[in-house]
Assembly symmetry: C2
Homo-oligomer: 377 residues x 2
């Protein structure tokens, strides 16, 4: 049931309105009204550096342009300059709707773009569906709708990225490092959070609180994990191991839960297994606050109770502060990565001589959060 109310206003009453298209002004009109040529008008409106225009003429043009409400047609301009000042941001917004990653990356990219008079075209991606990813995205550039691509997809097939890379179009990756085998040496600009360092920090925190049985919820991305040895969850596990090793705590494989934790069932199952261990964990590290919350929930149901500060999630989602059992979280620098990704693509667009390609790893920190603020009840 949808309630719709239609305005009763008669067609005649609105008849005087011109269509918006018909009131759109072009430079020919300015030329006619000012008696100035297109060339000069162009110089005035673009403030062409090094073009001398008599002050009187300039002001006349500007005045008429303002009077007519003239706005430059970006398409005409783009056609000749071969730059429309748009970039595409390809990102998955729909799935795993329980975090803020996508919003924060979008915020970073659009903010940086706005500062340089760029606009952002949004291409929603489906999780783990790469059918025509490369060609769909390439087409956006080839049709000149955008000048370059920012691709945020962790679990993209290497072959698809390779296709894009081969096209030599302005491209920047987020959450995905792309490197061809060392002897071919091609590298794409990319930005990733330092999940190794972040997880080490998280693990160290828990160790410093006296925990020795720390469970790690670590995703397994199937085919993607197999072909990419630098997969994000591998990096997480390395950080975890590094911290335990440094503290001389033996690694117990049973504490490392592996599954597709975008599926709640997998979290429940992992929690069940952990709870059955002879010595269940006393602390938990999870990739996201969503996984942490669910893990905590299911562990509770399986009678495993953790201290409120014995959990570290990721993403610093607001809700973790207002739980009866609040927990720690890693701050992932999504906005900053978005900003940097735009700034890099802008460079690639401007000097389209291809640069060497840089892979950038950004620091992950522990969210500050005092548990004293929130006494347990």
């Amino acid at each position: 049931m949808v309630l719709a109310i239609t305005s009763l206003l008669s067609a005649e009453a609105r008849a005087g309105n011109k269509e918006f298209l018909s009131i759109m002004v072009n430079r020919k009109e300015i030329a006619e009204r000012t008696g100035v040529s297109m060339t000069v008008i162009s110089h005035v409106l673009n403030n062409t550096p090094g073009a001398r225009v008599k002050n009187e003429t300039r002001e006349k043009v500007l005045r008429v342009a303002r009077e007519l409400g003239y706005v430059t047609n970006a398409l005409g301009k783009a056609l000749i300059e071969n730059k429309i000042h748009h970039v595409a941001l390809a990102i998955n917004c729909c799935d795993s709707d329980d975090d803020q990653t996508c919003k924060r990356i979008i915020a970073g990219v659009t903010a940086a773009a706005a500062e340089q008079d760029y606009h952002v075209l949004l291409c929603p991606l489906k999780s783990r569906m790469d059918d025509n990813l490369a060609s769909d995205l390439a087409e956006l550039v080839q049709s000149r709708r955008v000048d370059g691509l920012i691709l945020n997809k962790e679990d993209v097939l290497t072959a698809e990225v390779a296709k894009l890379a081969a096209m030599e179009l302005p491209l920047v990756l987020i959450n995905n490092h792309f490197t061809l085998p060392i002897d071919q040496g091609h590298m794409l600009d990319s930005f990733c959070p330092d999940l190794f360092g972040g997880t080490r920090i998280a693990t160290n925190l828990l160790i410093s609180r006296g925990h020795r049985r720390i469970a790690l919820f670590r995703s397994e991305n199937g085919v993607f994990a197999k072909e990419n040895h630098r997969g994000s969850d591998q990096r997480r596990e390395s950080g975890y191991r590094e911290a335990l090793n440094a503290a001389d705590i033996p690694i117990d494989r049973d504490l490392i839960a592996v599954g597709d934790f975008s599926r709640t069932e997998d979290i429940e199952q992992a929690a069940g297994i952990l709870s059955q261990l002879p010595q269940p964990p006393t602390a938990v590290i999870a990739a996201t606050d969503a996984i942490a919350l669910k893990a905590l929930h299911f562990l509770r149901r399986f009678q495993v109770k953790l201290a409120p500060d014995a959990v570290v999630g990721g993403g610093d989602l607001f809700f973790r502060r207002y739980l009866e059992q609040p927990f720690h979280s890693l701050v992932l620098p999504w906005e900053r990565m978005g900003r940097m990704a735009f700034e890099q693509i802008k460079k690639n667009i401007d000097h389209n001589a291809d640069s060497p390609g840089t892979m950038t790893v950004l620091p992950v920190t522990l969210a500050d959060f005092s548990f004293k603020e929130l006494p347990r009840i």
Copy 2:
């Protein structure tokens, strides 16, 4: 600290690569290789209805186009058709980062747009800052970067929307009904959730569980609330009152908490006041799950304990199911609204004769969620 690794690959090794721009093919090239005129090529590539092209010619053109990897330049086409097949979605993504509204609207709009070969330009809005909103958005259309505008902003100044409306450009509103005074009769296409009905449902649910002291957290939007009598929180309060009246429960103004609940402090303060009442509430209704969670948190600190099913939030955020004290939530039809908004703007763009304008109210439902699944611990 940012760790950056630059590829060691020498410039020479990559020297053979052509710039992507130089490999871009145009129709002149197809014409040369096939010996066919631009006209025919155009007919073939566009499948112009009612154009007869010899099959042999058609296949030759298609083959060469494919061989060359030809992609139509959308700018050239748009310049002449005066349609670029882009729409702008103006929406606030950054602030109040604790809900999914923005993501879900984006998902709806982009999905519907993709079905009709449209692309979406994202314009991030700042909360309550309307400086040049109308002229900034209008400029997107006037510069022909987009064919129309979808504006999602609840607390926009009426004057700014009126400016946009006056320009008669393709425009659709989400979360904002715009109506000029009845004698002027102008109405814009708009889509809103039925917050009146939704809140009535929520209130009825709590009444049916035996609650008679139901607190309502209802936002006050300052200047916007004053100038707009149909503000969303007014509609919420009406639904609440309607349900109580129908059940013959007297309305106690003390139970209606008013504040700017995007600020956590306001929630804390409201919870404090509610807890001091001679008869504190036994149930709570809040606009969003985020507010509900925080309200619950602070009420708990003020020693007010509610039953797990005595709270109704909004937005059906995942976390509410995994709390020690899970709660109900209203499902707001954001994707659907996004879809409908796109479909409407598409119509407005195509038949740009202006239509009467329709305001559409979409049903809000109670999220299904069985508390039996989750025994209290």
